[in-house]
Symmetry: C2
Subunit: 148 residues, 2 copies
């Protein structure tokens, strides 16, 4: 077992692949990469590093499993349930079960974060048209989702 | 549920207690604090932030559960199994099941790290005199454990 994976420049790590965030055919997103930092059969959690490029955003989705997020780099905002949050390095974000959520980088700055999650977890759900409209009925959330 | 805990100066977080690393009567250590960043009934992992003061060290111990460590601050070294590792920010350390391990800060600099661990886990074991002597039979490990 490899006990040390050294940090490389620009939030990369020795021996850790830079992966697609998810299958582009499955869900909408823009400019997101994923690196799996810790995942093992004898570990019930996984730790991943996601980076959202300037102007990019993760999929708006919800699921039963919980995310415990630690911001590492840059700046951005997140929607979590009905909250729009401004994010800075080392801020901690909890995404509760079934909360709609999305992370957005700043226009000119990337947003990088660690995400701890259960290794065994359910598949994310995308919002229906009605669910998206319900979210957008709050002006602050509508502005967030439109990237303005 | 609190969805955002903002980072405060000096690796503290809003609403997160600064705790003793462990009961001083139970195990030897020097200058270590603990903050629980993520722990919830519907999350199988926990995320903690440990900080080892300059010259300090965590307990030399082993257990079945695995640690996935991300260095966040400062510099130091770790013993993991038979490996003595130099550590810098963002380095990833995996402590496999039953590997003897200890983290040491530099003489003049603290060492701060995130540690992901299963919420349900076994109790650490301390080395017997014989086990410690066996570890110290390797000169590099003997120097590490003596702090030189």
């Amino acid at each position: 077992m490899i006990v040390l994976r050294r940090a490389l420049p620009e939030f990369r790590w020795e021996g850790v692949d830079l992966r697609a965030y998810k299958d582009e055919a499955q869900a909408p997103f823009r400019g997101v990469t994923r690196q799996v930092l810790a995942s093992a059969p004898d570990l019930k959690g996984e730790l991943r590093y996601f980076e959202v490029a300037p102007g990019g955003w993760t999929t708006l989705e919800r699921h039963q499993h919980v995310h415990a997020v630690t911001i590492l780099r840059g700046a951005g905002r997140a929607l979590v349930g009905e909250n729009v949050l401004d994010l800075a390095p080392l801020d901690l974000v909890t995404v509760p079960a079934w909360a709609w959520h999305q992370f957005r980088a700043g226009t000119d700055v990337a947003l990088g974060f660690l995400c701890m999650v259960d290794a065994e977890r359910d598949r994310p759900q995308l919002p229906s048209e009605q669910e998206r409209a319900a979210l957008e009925s709050a002006p602050e959330i509508a502005r967030f989702l439109s990237g303005t």
